[in-house]
Structures are given as structure tokens and as C-alpha cells.
């Protein structure tokens, strides 16, 4: 069986800025049509990788393949990828329509044709009536959509999105997430999405690469990352978790491993039984949909449990209350130790 050529393939990619290594010896393949996210804290190298794919940065060593072609040293304008910038980078002196039509303009497409295409692209992002405005007259969300329309009008093979929703407020952001996902399905092109927001990455992506200190810690589907994080970093960065040291797991489960157990997997009860561990509530924080309960276990470690509002155990928990904690061994994920 012939493997499909990956949309993007990075081989041994390294980028150093002076003595600082931003990206170190990175290998990555992104399938065609995939919604791929690069997730990591700031400074983890994800944006640098994106910029090397776009051609804004040249790698110190290694190669970038686009659809099987080595584009490592090609200029941005010779690469069939387009970028949606974090702060949109709209051309302030041009109208929205001119901004969107720009990619076609520099390709020599006639005025009438490119403006028709721009109107169409604008209607894709539901801004058909805004073509005559200047970017400064638009809201953040509208600018975001203009930037999208501008990038997709040239029908790139790959669309790079650099924290595109970072500057939007929460509501708008959730709405845009849905739109982005729909757009990607509609256009059927590869999206590479850079974000530091794990929830966003999990919501949108087919696959996510978790970056830490210039390396990829783990690549996988959102479920894989969440359910089976391989490293303490991934476990902690993707969602929240209770990290347990070997002596804790020894005490709780009878086996000494480095492990993680998600807060929502921890059940609380007042009834004492053999299967429970007793502890004391340190703090209970009500967050609306749930209550986060911090517990000091008599066996040693502190854990956090997430109790959904309306669930069986959603009675109010208060400080210093005695509590029984249900921990299932199947919920314990073993992590790699370095």
C-alpha cells in the first residue's frame, strides 16, 4: 500500500537564535486535510516551527517538505502555504476587499475577477457587506475573519494559523472555533493551528503535537493526549491532573509508578468502605458547572477532585470536612520518567 504523501513533513528541523535553541531536531509529518494543532506554552518553539513552514525563518539545519517537495530555502511567496497572523496583519491602507483580493492581485488576476473572488471569500466568513471598510473600522472578530478570507482566497494547500483567536474575548472565541472547524471541513485543506490554549487545541484538532522546550513531547489525537498522556508535562498541560509520585501510588494502589489521575475520575463520598481512602477537605471551590475539591489524603498526597454539579456526590463540601475518596486503578495513567 502506497502511503499518501504528507502535506507537511519536517525532518531534523533545528532553529537557533544565537545561543538559544528554539527548536531542536524536530521530526513531524502532517497529513493532508488534517486539522493539526501545535500546543505548548509560550517559548516552546511552536510558533518558530510555524514560521519555518511559512518561510519567514530559515532553519539552522533540517528540512521542510511541502507535499513532498523540499521548500526549505524557498521564499514565502514561493510556498503554497498561507498564514493567518496572530494580530491579523491586515494592510491598514487598503479596504477589506483590497486586503482579501491582495493575494490574487499579486498573482496578476484582473481587477474584476479578483474582486468577485474577494466578495465570495468574504461571504464565506460572513462579511460580504464589509468590503468597502478599512480594517481600522472593524471589530477584532471581524478582522480575524478578514485575515482568514485573505489567506484562503489563494486556495493554499496548507493554512497556518498563529494563535488566531488569542486576542478575542471568550464568547467570540468559542464562536470562531466553531466557524474555523466548519471552514476547514468546507475547504478540505490542511490547517496547522498554533495555540497555547489546550482546550482550544482539543476542541478543534484531529491531532495535536504538544511542544515543550523546543521538542515535541507527544503527538496524538485529543483523546489520546487527554486519556493517555505519556509525560508529566503533557498530563499537566493538557487538562488538569493529579500527578502522583511512586511513593503515593505505592500507598494508594500498591504499585510504585509515576502516575496521573484526572480530577473528574475521582469520586467523593461520605460513606466509609474498604475501597475508599479517607481524607480531609482543604478547600472546595465552586466554579459553576462543578466544584473543585482539594483533599489531603491520610495516605499522604493531596489530590483534587472535580465534582460535577448535579451529580450524586455534588453535596456541598466544606473545609476540614472528613471525606472518603474513591480511586480506581484503571483511571491511573502511567507516565514516563526521565
Amino acid at each position: 500500500m502506497v502511503e499518501q504523501t504528507p502535506a507537511i513533513s519536517l525532518r531534523g528541523l533545528t532553529k537557533s537564535f544565537g545561543s538559544v535553541t528554539a527548536v531542536s531536531n524536530l521530526d513531524l509529518e502532517i497529513k493532508s486535510g488534517e486539522f493539526f494543532s501545535m500546543l505548548g506554552p509560550s517559548g516552546s518553539g511552536k510558533t518558530t516551527v510555524l514560521r519555518m513552514i511559512a518561510g519567514f525563518e530559515l532553519p539552522t539545519s533540517g528540512h521542510v517538505f511541502l507535499d513532498g517537495e523540499d521548500v526549505t530555502t524557498k521564499a514565502p511567496f514561493d510556498r503554497d502555504v498561507n498564514t493567518v497572523f496572530q494580530d491579523y496583519a491586515l494592510f491598514p491602507h487598503m479596504t477589506v476587499l483590497e486586503n482579501v483580493a491582495y493575494g490574487l492581485r499579486v498573482r496578476g488576476v484582473g481587477k474584476r475577477e479578483r474582486e468577485a473572488a474577494a466578495v465570495e471569500a468574504l461571504s464565506t466568513v460572513r462579511l460580504a457587506d464589509f468590503g468597502g471598510r478599512k480594517p481600522s473600522e472593524l471589530s477584532g472578530g471581524q478582522r480575524q475573519r478578514v485575515a482568514l478570507a485573505r489567506a484562503i482566497i489563494v486556495k493554499p494547500k496548507v493554512l497556518l494559523l498563529d494563535e488566531p483567536l488569542g486576542a478575542l474575548d471568550l464568547k467570540l472565541r468559542e464562536q470562531m472555533q466553531i466557524e474555523l472547524k466548519e471552514l476547514q471541513r468546507e475547504l478540505a485543506i490542511t490547517f496547522i493551528f498554533v495555540t497555547h490554549d489546550q482546550e482550544e487545541a482539543l476542541t478543534l484538532s484531529d491531532r495535536v503535537a504538544v511542544f515543550n522546550q523546543g521538542r515535541i513531547e507527544q503527538i496524538g489525537s485529543p483523546q489520546e493526549l487527554y486519556e493517555r498522556p505519556q509525560t508529566p508535562f503533557v498530563a499537566g498541560f493538557v487538562g488538569t491532573t493529579n500527578l502522583l509520585e511512586p511513593q503515593d501510588t505505592q500507598a494508594l494502589f500498591g504499585k510504585a509508578i509515576k502516575g496521573s489521575i484526572r480530577p473528574e475520575r475521582i469520586k467523593l463520598t461520605t460513606q466509609n468502605s474498604v475501597a475508599t481512602h479517607s481524607g480531609k477537605v482543604i478547600e472546595a471551590i465552586y466554579v459553576g458547572s462543578a466544584t473543585r475539591v482539594h483533599i489531603k489524603l491520610d495516605a499522604g498526597p493531596e489530590v483534587t477532585a472535580l465534582v460535577l454539579s448535579g451529580s450524586d456526590s455534588s453535596e456541598s463540601w466544606s473545609r476540614n470536612q472528613e471525606v472518603q475518596v474513591v480511586l480506581n486503578e484503571k483511571d491511573l495513567v502511567q507516565l514516563e520518567t526521565k
Binding site: 511559512a54 518561510g55 519567514f56 521564499a75 514565502p76 511567496f77 502555504v81 498561507n82 498564514t83 497572523f85 496572530q86 494580530d87 496583519a89 491586515l90 494592510f91 491598514p92 491602507h93 491582495y102 493575494g103 492581485r105 499579486v106 498573482r107 485573505r150 489567506a151 489563494v154
Partner: protein, 307 residues
Amino acid sequence: MIENPVGKTMKGSDISAPKSFAHRVSSRLYTNAKLRLRLLIATPLLWLALVYVAALLALFVTAFWTMDSFTGEIRADWNIENFVKLFTNSLYQTVTLRTLGIALLVTVVDILIALPIAFFMAKIASPRMRGILVISILMPLWASYLVKAYAWRSVLSNEGILQWLLRPLGLDTPGYSLVGAALTLGYIWLPYVILPIYTGLEKVPQNILEASSDLGAKTWSTLRLIVFPLLLPAIAAGSIFAFSLTMGDYITINIVGGATQMLGNLVYTNVGTANNLPMAAAIAMIPIAIMFIYLSVIRKTGALDNL
């Protein structure tokens, strides 16, 4: 409960003491932003009115007086004879056109030289290199205008470095001529053109250039469609310096201009030689009028916000 006498008196005085005048002024100023602004700009505005507007008006008024050509006394009998001369005598038209021509030439040449230099400084050079370049561009400003003009006199002379450089190419130094004066003026005003353009370029966000390139624009298209339009106000700002400073020059043209003269020389001759202040004032109105038109054209580009 023991009362705290200190706390009591303090509290009491805060409430009941009549507010001092200064206090009332302060709070009035604090709450009234417009008044604050007006007071702040009143002093410089008054200064501006006195020094600039009044001086210009005085100049304008003087232009309607006459000079007794024998005794050199200025008489305040009103007439428009000076202006009639300005419009009827071909001398003034010739010199005005020449001055305008040099000013435009110097401006255009300076912009053409300044653009790549400023671009290199703002977008390509390393921060260290940029610092060195900024200093080396500002350095000539520390030298006197006269020193630079006389240095160019030497450069342009028959035994000067320009002749030495051009000789192998079969060319000659332009010598002391209009071209020589344009070169010298172009050199002297160049920093004033580079700096606003450099500042303007620095204000163009890097990611806008990246976006252009990303969308498929080659370097030249990016320069033409993105950089140049965004820079237009800065270029216009720089051109104001080169243009207006050249319009008013009479020293450089005297040192390296050979047998030619500009409007400034006519003003100078009328003040210095002819002692005809009214005529000088009338001639001085020409560059002022030209600058007025120039600035009102420039204003439309938004360049004045950039100064």
C-alpha cells in the same frame, strides 16, 4: 473606648476646613480636561503667535512699504509696487522657477537615496549595525552647515575628489553650478529626509511585510503595494524638510552655485546690498506662498501628523 485624638482631628479637618484656593484650582483642573489642556497650550501658543505669526505679518506688511532709494530710508506709504514688480519682471519668475526646480530636484534625489538607506536600517540591519548607521547619519548634523558647504566647494573644484573620480570615466566634475549646488544641498539635507522615512519604516509592522510575502507578493510588489503607500506620510514629512530648506537657501548656492542665484540670494541682495527691506519682504513672500501650497498638498497625505 479610648478616642484617638489624632484620628479625630484629622478626620474633622478634612471635612470642615474651607478648601484653599490652590486646592480648588487643582480640583477644578483635575475634573476639567479641556481647561487643563487650554492652559497647557496657552503659553507655547502665545509664543508661537508672537514669534511666528506676528513676524510673518510684519514681513507681509513691510512688503507694502517703499524704500527711498537715495537715502535708504524706509517709508510706510502703502502701495503694491513691489508685488507688481514681482509679477511683471521676468527676473523674479526665472529665479522662482529655478529655485523651485532645485528644491524639487533635491527633494526627489534625497528621497530616492533615503529610501534604500532607511529600508536597510529599519528592516535589514542588525540592531548593532542600525545604531552605527543612525549615528553616522546624524554625525554630519553636528558639523556646521558652512563647513559642509565649503567641504563640497573643495570636492566639486577642478582639483577636487569628484574630478579625480570622474576623470577615468571620461566625465568632469559639475563644478560650481546648479548641479553642484543641488548635490551639496542634497547632501546637507539628506539626514532630515532619512530620519522620518526610517522612523516611518520602523512603524510598519514586520508581520505586514510577512503577510504580503506570504500571500505571494515578490519583494518589489511588497515595496510598491505595501511599503510605499504606508511610507507615503513619512516620505512627505521628509520632503518638507528637503524642500523648504532648499527653498530658503542662499548660502550654499553662493558657495558652490557658481554664477547662479536663488530666491534667497535676491532677498539677501535686497536686504544686504540694496537695503530695500520692503522689496526683500515681497520676494520672501514667494517661498512662503510656495510652501503654503506645498504644505496644503502634503496635508492630504497625513504627513503632518508624522512630524
